[in-house]
């Protein structure tokens, strides 16, 4: 009993720790990445005893210090309570979403099987969406509480944009759920361990030599869904090209124009945490989560029959590494996106969300359904 609770607590702590640190590091990556793309050097001033560490110091030490020591300004006409509450509401969902994301298969210690996932809900993916939908409040409330025209505009934009893209997001995932036939993310991740040839219906067997050897990852089964989901996820993180709520050049800083110090840090961290969450979700849904191709619980089983048995611990470690790598890759992809594409106009955002992505998602669902029925 106690042990179980302890294990869960440990898992939770690990996850939060990982996410927050990843977020922090991403801050640095973003700066350096932008510098790289814009052919600058980027943050390199702050140093401890001469050690600048490519500016890693800035983000990991200097920035937090700076933020935490700055004055925490609350607009006099603003709403004290909500103004304080808002950043927490922004950060909270991003973190708790991770509870259902599996970062590995079961770990067997003695007779105890530990599911490498904080909480295994039978409605996992819905939980993700529920939390995602709560993410709106952070910015909306923050925007309103600052009692500032720009921030209010940002808040209005944010609420509209996030609701719109939640719809497209949810519908795009439907295809995946239909393919794997479950809502549990752990199940989805496990199912992606199989090979496509095991899924091929009889009338598609001729394809087997060509694609049969591929792992049954979402990206192969639901490419369109992946595109839609990734776009929607980026939109949900309110980053360029979807950073209308923020829109430095239009709304100064949008919803957090009146924020400073620790609260701003929380918004900041929340944004990066969302990046990580989005990356983790994309990984889990479309890129096999912790799956390494051909790696079963007892080792590698290659499609051409060869096998390479490994000890259990090694397998688990491989899985963890694979997961982390994939997540980091998608984080990097998002940062790349943020620095390489311009911002949409507001009506363009709405049109994209409602008139292009939503119909596409619906079409995807219909086609998937047809194929599944045909395959039975």
């Amino acid at each position: 009993m106690i042990v179980d609770v302890a294990i869960v607590a440990l898992k939770a702590f690990l996850v939060v720790f990982m996410v927050l640190n990843l977020a922090g590091i991403l801050g640095w990556v973003e700066r350096k990445g932008s510098a790289l793309i814009q052919d600058r050097i980027g943050a390199n001033r702050a140093s401890i005893f001469g050690f600048a560490g490519m500016g890693l110091v800035n983000t990991l030490l200097a920035d937090p210090l700076k933020f935490l020591t700055k004055e925490d300004f609350i607009p006099p006409a603003g709403d004290k309570l909500l103004h304080t509450l808002a950043p927490c509401m922004a950060l909270f969902p991003a973190l708790v979403t991770f509870a259902v994301i599996p970062f590995g298969d079961v770990l067997i210690i003695g007779d105890r099987m530990i599911n490498l996932q904080v909480a295994n809900l039978n409605i996992g993916i819905l939980y993700v969406f529920a939390m995602g939908s709560l993410g709106v409040y952070g910015i909306v409330i923050g925007a309103w509480a600052s009692n500032n025209k720009f921030s209010l505009l940002g808040g209005v934009r944010g609420s509209a944009q996030m609701i719109s893209y939640e719809v497209a997001m949810g519908l795009s995932v439907m295809g995946v759920l239909m393919v794997y036939g479950t809502l549990e993310l752990q199940e989805i991740a496990r199912d992606q361990g199989t090979l496509i040839r095991e899924l091929l219906p009889s009338w598609l067997l001729f394809m087997q030599p060509i694609i049969g050897w591929l792992p049954a990852w979402g990206i192969f089964l639901q490419p369109l869904a992946f595109l839609l989901f990734f776009t929607a996820a980026v939109a949900e993180t309110k980053r360029i090209p979807f950073d209308l709520p923020e829109g430095e050049s239009e709304l100064v800083a949008g919803y957090h124009v009146e924020y400073s110090g620790g609260k701003f840090l929380m918004f900041f961290a929340g944004e990066f945490a969302e990046i990580v969450t989005a990356a983790a979700l994309v990984t889990t849904l479309f890129f096999g989560g912790w799956q390494v191709p051909y790696l079963m619980r007892d080792g590698f089983h290659f499609p051409w029959g060869a096998t390479w048995l490994l000890p259990h611990l090694a397998v688990v470690v491989l899985q963890l590494v694979a997961f982390t790598v994939k997540v980091i890759f998608f984080c990097w992809l998002q940062i790349l996106l943020r620095w390489s594409v311009p911002r949409f106009r507001y009506d363009q955002v709405m049109r994209l969300g409602w008139k292009m992505m939503l119909p596409l998602a619906l079409i995807n669902v219909v086609i998937t359904a047809i194929v599944i029925v045909a395959a039975q």
Binding site: L126, F129, S133, L134, Y137, V140, A143, W144, V156
Partner: protein
């Protein structure tokens, strides 16, 4: 008084308080936030009552969509004027409501042991069960509900659209 009872009373107290806040706070946004809190608490109740699916839907639909829509409208209109209460009507109406509450409560306040609940399986309230009963017994209402939503969307667009002339 075991844990579940304690949790129940805790949540119940919070729920009542937050709903009171919804009604009696003067600032619209505060009301909205209080309502969100109440909705989340109710969602938790759902989950404790073996209705996780509905609970999550509660969070997604109510807290996630409807209330955000409310907030959106509030900010869209941004009504600055605070309402001036009307004492006479205020007392009369709340008296009526309290009467209603009292009646209902006294109605439910029977100390007879409640029919002990049916032992619920693990599946009870899961998406599968919900989907089964939805798409077997309630297919027609389901479809009608979808049509209703479609109509609502169209109606909302038409209503809220600003006339070209204006």
């Amino acid at each position: 008084m075991d844990a579940s009872t304690f949790v129940f009373f805790l949540l119940a107290g919070l729920l009542v308080i937050s709903s009171l806040l919804v009604v009696f706070l003067r600032n619209v946004v505060h009301c909205a936030m209080a309502l969100v809190a109440a909705l989340l608490i109710i969602a938790i109740f759902f989950i404790t009552l073996h209705a996780p699916m509905v609970g999550i839907l509660q969070v997604m639909v109510y807290a996630g969509a409807i209330m955000v829509l409310f907030l959106f409208v509030i900010m869209f209109l941004n009504p600055s004027v605070l309402e001036r209460p009307r004492a006479a009507w205020w007392s009369f109406a709340s008296l009526l409501a309290v009467l209603l509450g009292a009646m209902l409560v006294s109605l439910f306040f029977n100390n007879e042991p409640a029919a002990d609940p049916v032992a619920s399986t693990e599946l009870f309230g899961s998406p599968e069960m919900l989907a089964k009963s939805l798409f077997n017994d309630f297919v027609l209402p389901f479809e009608i509900a979808s049509v209703l939503l479609l109509v609502a969307i169209v109606g909302a667009v038409v209503l809220a659209k600003r006339e070209r002339s204006v």
